[in-house]
Symmetry: C2
Subunit: 142 residues, 2 copies
């Protein structure tokens, strides 16, 4: 989503546009994603040193609410956020926790499942767990 579009959408939903929110939006739209609230707070703090971590959490919740961000619960540590609109899957290293995006044919993915009647699917996600190049144990073929 474009920044301008995002700012607009934010207002449409009845939120006021504050400098804090603008800074967070600018940071996250340009970001590589997979960031935690803590990491986003650190980045934004560089140019806005007084911003509170709670404000970051609040804004992230709002971004999720308007569909501009998605939460990722891939591992046991902090929640991570994703800001791109395109759906893809994730490769998570079991050792170091590093997350890589993996492109996915959403249509093929969806076609694999036969849902119980009455269930209505909104989105499909796949996660692949394994070893990244740095963490592969010896003996595991490349």
């Amino acid at each position: 989503m474009e920044q301008a579009e995002l700012v607009q959408k934010f207002k449409t939903h009845g939120y006021k546009m504050t400098p804090q929110r603008r800074a967070i939006i600018e940071t996250t739209t340009g970001s590589l994603s997979h960031l935690s609230a803590e990491e986003i707070h650190q980045i934004v703090s560089k140019r806005m040193p007084d911003i509170a971590l709670a404000t970051v959490y609040n804004t992230l919740r709002e971004l999720v609410a308007i569909g501009a961000a998605r939460e990722m619960n891939l591992s046991n540590d902090a929640r991570r956020y994703e800001f791109s609109q395109d759906m893809h899957s994730h490769f998570v290293c079991l050792v170091c926790g590093k997350i890589q995006d993996v492109q996915t044919d959403q249509h093929k993915l969806a076609s694999l499942f036969k849902l119980n009647s009455g269930n209505y699917a909104i989105r499909y996600e796949a996660t692949i767990y394994g070893y990244c190049p740095n963490c592969a144990p010896v003996g595991i073929e490349k």
Copy 2:
């Protein structure tokens, strides 16, 4: 995994078999899965009132370590555990959080992804988010 097999595997890995661990194993092997540590603690507490929640957490960690349980991080609340060996996917209701198992052809699922070179996959998981029959908003076709 059979209970006896599991008890054996537990010992093989150098763990002592205590009444607490046995009770947890018996509870989880017979369970419907998707239980949180708290829920498992409550169930086991009925027949062993003094068992500590920390013991449940420790035992769960061990079960994961020996491959007899898997952790699920599907939503924002407590971690849930799965004890069946067969791989399947999950349907998670965005409203009530209810989790349903969905059978998956693991081979087809794996074939959808082209991993970056050097990555080694251990397992593939898919999660479908949507509305369960009880929570489907009006206007959403069944």
